[in-house]
């Protein structure tokens, strides 16, 4: 008979799929649980850290310091990294289940939501995701190009990702040069002719989802004036009631910031950012590429905190050559896992994956954006992962207790499939190369933007392609 699961003689083998914040916080909670646990973190890219590396804006270097905390977690005994391994492609979920007692999916929400309007796929119309991943040097987006020759750009959506996109478009390359922004993006932005950026939200100023800090930052740009139409700040009674609620002080502060901006004279800066509220895109028009956006005016209906945008039927047209939509993310299904296509998440109950009949699938868990959907910031995922791990640990007595091989069981499969797993030590080598490349440029790092380049740092450069 096997020793009790979770003891030194039969440690709990857990695979964590994904190396973003939720993956690291799940690993930490497991490794600090007091039980004997082995955690293998499996990541599809050779580089860890998920959206902290590939989402958080390069001009927010302080936030990227969350990585320092992940480096500490990665040092905990019994943590291993298997990067450059794609679950569902290089390794099947069933194969993981054969070698681990439990699997925590922390694979994020990497797909985009669609606007669902005609012309959405015209050249010049992009998702914020593509642009963000491209300027952050994500290998999947290395070959994208963005035509920044248009003078008028539109950003649809009013949350922090939309704010990031606006800032990157609005800043001069001199303001970005010393960040870890990808060189290809810096080169393209240097030639940008964008002068006007319209930031469009379907609801009003009281409902915008910016954090105070991100919004304030948009009013403090060195090379870009910010314009808010005072008429947009004439709020309806329901919105005023929302702002009265003490718990809603973030929105109240947002409106205060917007009022200050509306009262300010433009400063003659070369670029201009225009906030537009209560408008939705109806159609993107152009012969082969985006030339014009048709917008409809909305009004709010519903009681305070339940207000939704409804079309008034009144339309407006805006000449523009570039559009980014930032209206949310959805998870990507992995064969062998249940998927809720409507919400774009893995369906769970208390962090445990459930099948179509709502029955728990033993040993499978989820945390972070793939569990909750794309809401919340880096730290939100810590509380979330801790909750999932609590469920997992509570299940240990009922999990099949036979010993599992963990990564030793995966190694032959990966070898057979010619997959070069990137360990923590390997990653440190790649990381050091990136930092060294950045140094002469005055950048914290110059990221490798191709998988082959990253792998080229390893094995004396022997592994280059896959």
């Amino acid at each position: 008979m096997d020793a009790f699961l979770g003891t030194e003689r039969n440690p709990l083998q857990v695979a964590v799929v994904g190396s973003g914040p939720s993956g690291f916080y799940a690993a930490e909670a497991l490794l600090k649980s007091g039980q004997a646990v082995r955690v293998d973190m499996i990541e599809r890219l050779p580089a860890p850290y998920g959206l902290v590396r590939y989402g958080v804006a390069p001009d927010h270097p302080k936030l990227k310091e969350a990585i320092l905390a992940y480096q500490v977690i990665a040092q905990l005994p019994h943590f291993s990294l298997l990067a450059n391994v794609n679950v569902g492609r290089d390794i099947e979920v069933d194969e993981l289940r054969a070698h681990y007692h439990a699997i925590v999916f922390a694979c994020g929400a990497e797909a985009d939501r669609r606007l669902g309007v005609p012309g959405e796929d015209l050249a010049g119309s992009h998702t914020a995701t593509e642009f963000v991943a491209w300027y952050n040097g994500h290998p999947d987006y290395r070959e994208r190009s963005f035509d920044l020759s248009a003078e008028v750009a539109v950003v649809i959506g009013q949350g922090n990702v939309a704010a990031d996109v606006c800032r990157i478009l609005a800043k001069s390359v001199d303001e970005l040069r010393a960040t870890d922004i990808a060189q290809h993006a810096l080169d393209a932005l240097a030639a940008s002719r964008v002068r006007e950026i319209h930031l469009i939200g379907r609801r009003g100023p009281a409902q915008a989802k910016f954090t105070n800090k991100e919004l304030k930052e948009l009013g403090e740009l060195a090379c870009c004036d910010t314009q808010v139409d005072p008429r947009d700040l004439a709020l309806n009674a329901e919105s005023l009631a929302e702002l009265q609620s003490k718990a809603n002080y973030i929105s109240a502060k947002n409106v205060e910031i917007l009022r200050d901006l509306a009262a300010r004279a433009l400063g003659g800066r070369p670029r201009r950012l225009l906030f537009r509220f209560l408008e939705s895109p109806l159609e993107l028009v152009g012969a082969g590429r985006l030339e014009e956006l048709v917008l409809v005016r909305n009004r709010l209906e519903g009681s305070p905190f339940q207000q939704s945008a409804h079309s008034t039927g009144e339309t407006a047209r805006l000449r523009c050559g570039l559009l980014f939509r930032s209206i949310g993310y959805a998870g990507v299904p992995i064969p062998g896992c249940p998927f809720d296509a409507r919400q774009g998440i893995f369906p769970t109950r208390d962090g445990r994956l459930v099948d179509a009949t709502d029955a728990v699938i033993p040993g499978l868990y989820a945390a972070g954006w793939i569990k909750r959907g794309p809401s919340g910031i880096i730290g939100t995922n810590r509380a979330d992962s801790v909750a999932t791990v609590k469920s997992l640990l509570a299940d240990v007595p009922s999990l099949p207790s036979g010993a599992k091989a963990g990564s030793a069981g995966l190694a032959p499969l990966l070898a057979q499939r010619a997959v070069r797993a990137v360990s923590l030590d390997d990653w440190r080598v790649i990381d050091a190369h990136e930092v060294a490349r950045g140094e002469p440029l005055g950048k914290p790092r110059e990221k490798f933007t191709r998988v082959a380049e990253m792998l080229g740092c390893l094995d004396g450069g022997a592994v280059s392609q896959r």
Binding site: E65, K253, G379, T380
Partner: protein, 101 residues
Amino acid sequence: MTTIVTDNCNGCRFTDCVTVCPVACFHADETMLYIDNNVCIQCSACIPLCPVHAIYADDDIPEDQAHWIEINAERSQALPVVTEKQDALPGAEARKAALGY
């Protein structure tokens, strides 16, 4: 950039804030918490989580709370890190109500 815990935390210590801190920079004594700004990444995750709005950042720090900047800096160095939710102090609910939240 600075994020600090102020007066309102004193005597309540709900610690909802620590559960979302991505970098474990909250330190605690018997009555309240303090942020170590050498470690804090200024992500503001903790601010909306605090039920009594005790946490402020940068130019939102009320003038009459500015002395807390130094207190946070000093106390956080001397005290242990807290990363998990603690039991609220006895009387926390009453204090929360008294503060109008």
